[in-house]
C-alpha cells in the first residue's frame, strides 16, 4: 500500500526520528557522502548518487568491542556491549539494502553473531530509490534494481512535489507518521542500466581457478584494502584484545584478504603468498564460495564502489566478462 509524503512531512518525520532514535543519513563531508548519525535534519543531503562507504559500517562497524572483561572483586565477568537506542538508516539505496540482506547469511547463521544480530533487529531501513544511474552502477545484473523494495522496511521514491512511500514491513508501518494520505499515483519507471554477463559466473570461476589470468590481473593490483572496505558485502574481520589501564576489550575490526598477513599463521607459514592467489580469493569468495555456501545470489550487488575507488581500476564487471570469455576459449 503506497502513501504520499510531502517534503515538509518528510522533514518533520526525520526531525522526530532523529530525536527518538539514532538516525543515520547521508551527510556531505567535503566532496564525499557518508552515512553519519545526524542530530539536525539540515545535515542530511539527498543530492548524491551513492554514498562513498556502504551502510554495512553500522552493522559491522570498522571497529567494535565484542565484549569487555570487567574485574568485579577478582571475578572477571564478560559483558558484551550493546547499542543504547534503536536506529534508523535513512536514504540507503536498494543495492545496499540487498548487501545487508546478503550479509545476514553468514552472520545470522547458527550460532548467530549477536552484536550484528542485535543491531540488525533494532535498526529500521528507509530506502531511497535511485532516479538516475551512475556510470559504475550495474545492480539490475546482480539481482537488485534502482526501485527494488524487497530488503527495506520503507522505500521512498521521489516525485515532483514529494515522495511515494511503499510500506514493506510491519517495522516500517510502525515507524511512519500516522496522518499520511494514500497515493494512487503510479511509481515512476526506474532508469535503464548496462547489463553485465553474470550467468554461470560461478562455474567460470571454478573452471578457471588455476588459470594464469589471476596472476596477470594481479600484476597491477596494489593489494590495498580499499575494495573490501568500500564494498557492502565484504565482511572479513580480525579480532584482538585491547587493554588500557582498567578496561580490557576483545575488539573486532575490518580486515581484507588482500593484506599480506591475512592468512599467515604464527611461525610464518602463509598458504597464500602470491599476488594472484590473494586477488583471486576476493573474487572467488564473492562469485563462487558465497553463492555455493548460502544458496543465494552472488555476493556483489552491483553498486560499483570498488570500481570507483580502486586506485588501479580493477573492474569487477571487466573481470566477470574476462572470465566468461576465457571459459568459452578454455583458459588463457
Amino acid at each position: 500500500m503506497n502513501l504520499y509524503i510531502s517534503r515538509g512531512d518528510l522533514t518533520r518525520w526525520l526531525d522526530q526520528l532523529c530525536r527518538e532514535r539514532i538516525l543515520l543519513a547521508p551527510v556531505r563531508v567535503q566532496e564525499l557522502t557518508l552515512f553519519q548519525p545526524v542530530s539536525k535534519v539540515e545535515e542530511i543531503t539527498l543530492d548524491f548518487g551513492n554514498t562513498t562507504l556502504s551502510p554495512k559500517g553500522w552493522f559491522l562497524p570498522p571497529t567494535e568491542a565484542l565484549f569487555s572483561v570487567q574485574d568485579n572483586d577478582g571475578q572477571s565477568q564478560l559483558v558484551s556491549s550493546i547499542i543504547e537506542k534503536d536506529a534508523v538508516i535513512f536514504g540507503l539505496r536498494p543495492c545496499d539494502a540487498k548487501g545487508i540482506a546478503l550479509m545476514d547469511g553468514p552472520f545470522l547463521r547458527e550460532p548467530s553473531d549477536t552484536p550484528y544480530q542485535e543491531r540488525r533487529a533494532r535498526t529500521s531501513l528507509i530506502g531511497l530509490s535511485c532516479r538516475q544511474a551512475q556510470p559504475e552502477c550495474f545492480c539490475t545484473s546482480m539481482g537488485s534494481a534502482p526501485n527494488d523494495s524487497s530488503h527495506v522496511d520503507i522505500l521512498l521514491t521521489e516525485i515532483e512535489n514529494g515522495y511515494i512511500a511503499q510500506v514493506i514491513t510491519k517495522k516500517g508501518k510502525a515507524l511512519l507518521p500516522k496522518a499520511l494520505v494514500k497515493s494512487e499515483e503510479a511509481l515512476p519507471s526506474p532508469p535503464e542500466l548496462q547489463t553485465v554477463p553474470v550467468k554461470e559466473i560461478t562455474l567460470a570461476v571454478r573452471e578457471l581457478f588455476n588459470d594464469p589470468y589471476w596472476e596477470q590481473l594481479a600484476d597491477r593490483c596494489l593489494h590495498c584494502n580499499v575494495c573490501a572496505y568500500v564494498c557492502p558485502t565484504c565482511y572479513c574481520f580480525d579480532m584482538r584484545d585491547y587493554s588500557n589501564k582498567e578496561n580490557l576489550e576483545r575488539v573486532r575490526s575490518w580486515d581484507s584478504c588482500q593484506s599480506i598477513g591475512f592468512s599467515r599463521i604464527a611461525g610464518g607459514y602463509n598458504p597464500r603468498t602470491t599476488k594472484g592467489a590473494r586477488l583471486r580469493q576476493r573474487f572467488a569468495h564473492k562469485l563462487l564460495y558465497f553463492p555455493e555456501e548460502f544458496q543465494q545470489d552472488i555476493a556483489c550487488v552491483g553498486c560499483g564502489r570498488c570500481i570507483k575507488s580502486c586506485p588501479v581500476n580493477i573492474d569487477i564487471r571487466e573481470t566477470m566478462s574476462d572470465l566468461k570469455r576465457l571459459e568459452v576459449k578454455g583458459g588463457s
Binding site: T114, M239, R250, A266
Partner: protein, 277 residues
C-alpha cells in the same frame, strides 16, 4: 530469549603448566562453571580457541580425552603473542576457552585397521589423544606404528609417555630427530625418510599425519609411493583462525572452512580442494 554471544569464551582456571620441551608447555585447564564443564564434550582432533585476555585468541587441539576427567589439556608451543601470554600464566590464573570446534578423527571407522600415526614436532600434540584412545581399546585395532620426529631430542613431545606406548602389545614407537646430540643414541633422519625406510604396509591400514606443513607435504608423497590410497591418508590442516564459527572467512582453503569442515581431512578430500593448502 537472549541469544548467547558466541564470541564470549567460557571462563577457565589454569590448573597446571608442565614443561614438555623448552618451548612447549602442557596446560591443564578447568572450566569454572560446572554446567559448562559437563557440557564440554569433545573427540580427538577437535580444537578450542584459547583466550589469553589482553592478547587475543588462538586455536589449540585438545590433547586430553574427555573420559579422563574434567581437565582439558593443551600442548602450547611458544611461537607468537598469544602463546607467549599463555606461557606466562601461572596456576590459578584465568583464561578463556571457546569451543569445541571442528570435526574429529573418526576412530570408530578405523576399527580393525592397522594404524600408522606420524607426528612431527608439536604436530604430535593432536595425535596423543588418538594414541591414548587406541590404547584404551587396544583390541579394536590391529598393529599400531607410531613415528614421532622432532628437530632435536629435547623437542620430542610427550616423552614421559613413550614407555607406556612401547609397552603396549603390537605397538611400535619409532623416534627420530633432525639433529641429534651426545646423549641421543637413536635415529637421526627426517620423518619422510624414516617413513620410506620403515615402509609400513598399506593393506587394511590408516595413516594419520600431523606436523609442520612442509613435513606433511613430503610425508604424504612418501605414503602415496608406498601404495596408500588417498582415503587411507588422514591429516590436519593448520590455518589462521579468528572466529571459529565459519563467519570471518579467515581459515578458508578454497571453498572449505578449516574451522568447520576441518581441521581433519583425508588426502582424497584435499586433492579435490580448489585451492591447494
Amino acid at each position: 530469549m537472549v541469544l548467547k554471544n558466541p564470541f564470549i569464551p567460557y571462563l577457565a582456571t589454569l590448573k597446571s603448566a608442565v614443561d614438555l620441551t623448552p618451548d612447549v608447555k602442557l596446560l591443564k585447564v578447568e572450566l569454572k562453571n560446572p554446567t559448562e564443564r559437563a557440557s564440554f564434550n569433545y573427540k580427538p582432533g577437535q580444537f578450542a580457541l584459547l583466550s589469553a585476555f589482553g592478547e587475543g585468541e588462538a586455536p589449540f587441539g585438545m590433547v586430553s580425552l574427555p573420559q579422563h576427567g574434567d581437565g582439558l589439556e593443551f600442548a602450547v608451543r611458544r611461537i607468537g603473542t598469544v602463546t607467549r601470554a599463555l606461557h606466562e600464566l601461572e596456576p590459578g590464573d584465568v583464561l578463556g576457552v571457546r569451543g569445541p570446534f571442528g570435526n574429529y578423527f573418526p576412530l570408530e571407522n578405523y576399527v580393525g585397521k592397522n594404524m600408522v600415526i606420524i607426528g612431527g614436532g608439536i604436530g604430535m600434540a593432536p595425535l596423543r589423544p588418538v594414541i591414548n584412545q587406541i590404547l584404551e581399546q587396544r583390541d579394536d585395532y590391529q598393529d599400531l606404528l607410531i613415528i614421532n620426529g622432532a628437530r632435536t631430542p629435547q623437542d620430542l613431545v610427550f616423552a614421559p609417555e613413550f614407555k607406556t606406548w612401547m609397552k603396549t602389545p603390537r605397538t611400535k614407537l619409532e623416534l627420530t630427530v633432525d639433529r641429534g646430540n651426545e646423549q641421543w643414541g637413536g635415529r637421526v633422519a627426517l620423518v619422510p625418510d624414516v617413513v620410506k625406510k620403515l615402509a609400513p604396509s598399506p593393506d587394511n591400514a590408516i595413516t594419520i599425519t600431523c606436523g609442520p606443513p612442509i613435513m606433511i607435504h613430503y610425508t604424504l608423497a612418501v605414503l602415496r609411493e608406498l601404495g596408500f590410497k588417498d582415503n587411507q591418508i588422514v591429516t590436519t590442516l593448520e590455518a589462521k583462525m579468528k572466529c571459529g564459527l565459519g563467519k570471518c572467512a579467515r581459515c578458508n582453503v578454497g571453498d572449505k572452512y578449516v574451522c568447520q569442515d576441518g581441521p581433519v581431512f583425508t588426502l582424497a578430500q584435499i586433492s579435490q580442494f580448489l585451492e591447494q593448502p
